[in-house]
Amino acid sequence: MNRLSRDQIAARVAKDIPEGAYVNLGIGLPTKVANFLPVDRDILLQSENGLLGMGPAPAPGEEDWELINAGKQAVTLLTGGAYFHHADSFAMMRGGHIDICVLGAFQVSVKGDLANWHTGDPSAIPAVGGAMDLAVGAKQTFVMMELLTKEGESKLVERCSYPLTGLACVSRVYTDLAVFDVGPNGASVVEMVDGLTLDELRRMTGVALTA
């Protein structure tokens, strides 16, 4: 069984992002997707702190700390990009103007419920940022994650046990072992890594899966 690396998952997500798409990449793992977007496609990245047309990281020493992304990393602006304030930025997101957002997750349910902001640990300091806005606002919300926790538990679940970020908002889940569509009809397997069978995947996840 040929488990995908994080970069390989990112590359797989990138394959599904079409020419002309407006895309928001969540902080953390999804940021890697930018590295795999094909150079022959015009794809515009939005960052919720207020820019559209986000370019790659600047060369070391060239950072401008007033030009950052949602993860507070120094970035650049493509020719043709634009700056705007936070209310306009979240209007883009909440108003359905972003075609695709890619988020990390603690859990995703087969119906597309998302849990990615809080482990539920009462001693943790909670922080949500723009996750709830992105989850409900984009035309399509993709999740990118490893399928199993370090303890081997499936993060694709019948029902999320972690605090929710949004209800029925995720449409597709990219993992190191398989790609799933989720939604009102439950989870279906889009593709699996070589050497994995549907039965094994059912056993690993413990959820109902159609092919």
Partner: protein, 227 residues
């Protein structure tokens, strides 16, 4: 390559369908996208629901669309003007439906649509005939009316300059409804004086980022005339 520029106004409006809802920018004639409207008239579809601040001035633009009998309903704040005779005639003949909205509620409802809000409580209009039958609520000692977003299938907008990604700047008070209508319509179609190369517009001064714009047509500079 993302290229939202269209060859002609008629190509840009070619899929506006019978019965569509169409936002039209402009306050009086300032910002009225005459070339797009002329193309829409030539296209021949009717039963349109139009969202604009007014109901046409003189003989051009929205007035011409109304004269041609293509408008089923108009949502606006200020239809009656000295030169709104085409609307006046159709309205008095019972041929056009009017939804009258206070101007600020019109702007706020369009902005709410663009921003994906479900509804807003606004103080404007409370206790007046324009809030009759609407849900009201006293919040923090002040009475409010519940108003819903106004979405549209298309927006027709006049801007000053644009680029192939759809970034726009406007000119003086012709800006008016353009930026918020671009956000609220499924398909925003913009006529500009000039399509400039990508990067010619300063990213700090772009008023409408291209994400809100689907089509841009260069129609040349045109002086607005008195309303």
């Amino acid at each position: 390559m993302i290229d939202k520029s269209f060859e002609s106004p008629s190509a840009a409006v070619a899929d506006i369908f019978d019965g569509a809802s169409v936002m039209i920018g402009g306050f009086g004639t300032a910002g009225m996208p005459d070339d797009l409207i002329d193309a829409l008239i030539a296209r021949g579809v009717g039963n349109l629901t139009i969202i604009n601040n007014n109901a046409g001035n003189g003989e051009t633009g929205l007035a011409a669309l109304i004269k041609a009998g293509r408008v089923k309903k108009i949502i606006c704040s200020f239809p009656r003007q000295t030169d709104s005779h085409h609307f006046d005639a159709r309205y008095r003949a019972g041929e056009i439906e009017l939804e009258l909205v206070p101007q600020g509620n019109l702007a706020a409802r369009i902005q709410a649509a663009g921003a994906g809000l479900g509804a807003i409580f606004t103080p404007t209009g409370f206790g007046t005939a324009l809030a009759e039958g609407k849900e009201t609520r006293r919040i923090d000692g002040k009475d409010h009316v519940l108003e819903y977003p106004i979405h549209a299938d298309f927006a027709l907008i006049k801007a000053h300059k644009g680029d192939r990604w759809g970034n726009l700047i406007y000119r003086k008070t012709a800006r008016n409804f353009g930026p918020i209508m671009a956000m609220a319509a499924k398909t925003s179609i913009v006529q500009v004086s000039e399509i400039v190369p990508l990067g010619a517009l300063d990213p700090e001064t772009i008023v409408t980022p291209g994400i809100f714009v689907q089509r841009v047509v260069e129609t040349g500079a045109q002086a607005s005339t008195a309303a």
